[in-house]
């Protein structure tokens, strides 16, 4: 087991060094841009996306009634991750003005619908849970 892990690790290090070797002919400008994007990804996640998510979680746990917590969490998970995936098409960047066979859909409208559907689903799921819980409590009291 230990040996297998060691070999696996060595293979991984080899792959990584090969990746660096492939960059040997990059110009200084290309290397700087690659470095900015490599470090920028970590920074955007660790310093922006993750803290904001944690902060919203803390806020939600203080403000929202318990019944809504699970539904809101799942809706937020879906909304946030899908929004990240769709950021390029929502941005209005990309494509070329003389080519209307790319980026040719009403993405913003779709995203508003997605946002509305997820918010609506979270509210309905939360209300149903509350109704279910109070129903169960009423039954228990009888």
């Amino acid at each position: 087991m230990r040996a297998a892990r060691f070999i696996l690790g060595a293979i991984g290090v080899g792959f990584g060094l090969w990746g660096l070797w492939l960059m040997r002919d990059f110009t200084g400008q290309q290397l700087v841009s690659t470095g900015v994007w490599l470090a920028g990804g970590i920074l955007v996640h660790d310093a922006v996306l993750a803290p904001v998510t944690v902060g919203l979680g803390v806020l939600a746990s203080r403000l929202l009634p318990g019944h809504f917590r699970a539904a809101t969490s799942v809706a937020f998970l879906l909304w946030a991750t899908l929004t990240v995936v769709f950021l390029p098409v929502l941005s209005g960047q990309g494509g070329k003005p003389d080519n209307d066979s790319i980026l040719n859909r009403p993405y913003l409208a779709s995203w508003l619908v997605l946002t509305g559907v997820l918010a609506g689903a979270a509210i309905i799921a939360g209300l149903r849970r509350r109704a279910h819980a109070s129903g169960a409590a009423a039954t228990a009291e009888d």
Partner: protein
């Protein structure tokens, strides 16, 4: 009033135990991680395949069969990358508190080991985000960087997979423990309102699945209407999307020149044919896909002269390698090489018509190459010359 000391600042930085969500845990991380690992593996292998299709190595003679192969592998490449984005975000969320573990102070050796592990995780996170972000922007033809996309996406892919393998090697016992344990704590029900780990897991898988469904229509025809976030909806001039217009490629002038004549160069001899002469030759019609590196693809019906017939007519061997030169004046891929196994195939056409109409300017008028199982960018448009090169 005094300045804050290092200790004051340290006290304000959260500690792992400050994060309260019980939904985090090795059981969740390991399960999301397995799915993410599969997505990364698929993405890496199909990516390697794509590079092989662009520049076939000598030992791997990629041919025209199966016709739809590149369409499938590149569709999978882009979709596995898209599926990986929600999985990566949830995975990183599940381990975020670990970012705040204080470095060990007991010994230099422990500090060095911790430092190395942190470095490998930094490489993994940085390269993973890099791969997914650069790929996602590239499919929308948005290039906000100064590096060459193809070379850099390829090099960083090795770093991403390498650091992933190191990560698996380091974490193997933790992964096994996480997968072996029940996902939720048996006492989960004590707080009925708490978010269960299973809920987060199902949410992560649902998001990955939805991301795929809502974009896959650019390559899977029956999802076209559902995929409202796809970069392409499959439409375009003559029912086929365009990647680079004649204007963007600087091909308008050459392509619309009434004096256009195709050159076929065999040995020292050159045969020239204008478009009417090409149309007078025996025509073949085939249904073949355009399959782009950006992950979109669509079948179309092409009519034209088989390249092998043209080469034979000019006195060449129909099983030769042919270099195709375009009239485009801007951009890469002005020249492509058709290896002999493609030339031999009678479905490799110098197309003159698309879906029953003369080629439009943006699809490569007056004539273009279309061959089975080729990356779209090698399906050279606005062809001015075919030369037998071996």
């Amino acid at each position: 009033m005094r300045l804050p000391t290092v200790e004051d600042i340290e006290r304000r930085i959260p500690r792992p135990e400050d994060f309260q969500s019980r939904a985090r845990g090795t059981q969740l991380t390991a399960r999301v991680g397995v799915a993410l690992g599969i997505a990364f593996g698929l993405c890496f292998l199909t990516g390697l395949w794509s590079h092989a299709q662009y520049d076939p190595p000598g030992w791997l003679p990629i041919g025209p069969q199966p016709t739809q192969l590149y369409r499938v592998t590149q569709g999978l490449h882009v979709l596995s990358g898209i599926a990986a984005i929600p999985l990566l975000l949830v995975k990183l969320w599940s381990v975020f508190p670990r970012l705040f573990i204080r470095p060990p102070t007991s010994s230099w050796r422990e500090l060095a080991v911790e430092g190395l592990e942190r470095a490998s995780i930094g490489a993994l996170v940085g390269s993973s985000v890099f791969m997914l972000a650069s790929g996602l922007l590239n499919i929308a033809q948005w290039y906000p960087w100064d590096f060459s996309f193809r070379a850099t996406h390829y090099a960083v892919a090795w770093i991403a997979i390498g650091s992933l393998i190191v990560h698996i090697a380091v974490k193997l016992p933790v992964i096994r423990r996480g997968l072996g344990a029940q996902i939720d704590h048996p006492e989960q029900h004590l707080d009925p309102d708490a978010v269960a780990r299973r809920t987060v897991l199902v949410g992560a898988f649902a998001s990955a699945g939805l991301a795929v469904l809502l974009t896959a229509g650019q390559t899977v025809p029956f999802l076209r209407r559902l995929s409202v976030f796809a970069v392409r909806d499959g439409q375009g001039p003559q029912d086929l999307p365009v990647n680079r217009t004649a204007k963007a490629a600087g091909a308008v002038e050459g392509a619309t020149d009434p004096a256009f004549a195709l050159e076929i160069v065999v040995g020292g001899r050159t045969v020239t044919l204008d478009r009417d002469q090409l149309l007078a030759l025996p025509q073949r019609t085939h249904r073949l896909p355009i399959a782009c590196v950006e992950g979109w693809s669509r079948n179309a019906v092409w009519t034209g002269v088989a390249v092998r017939d043209l080469i034979a007519m000019a006195g060449g061997d129909p099983a030769s390698e042919v270099t195709v030169r375009s009239m485009q004046t801007r951009g890469a891929f002005r020249t492509s090489v058709l290896p002999s196994q493609f030339v031999e195939d009678h479905r490799t056409l110098l197309a003159l018509e698309l879906n029953g109409e003369p080629l439009s300017l943006d699809h490569g008028f007056p004539c273009r190459i279309i061959a089975p199982n080729r990356p779209g960018v090698l399906q050279t448009k606005w062809v001015r010359q075919l030369e037998v090169t071996s």
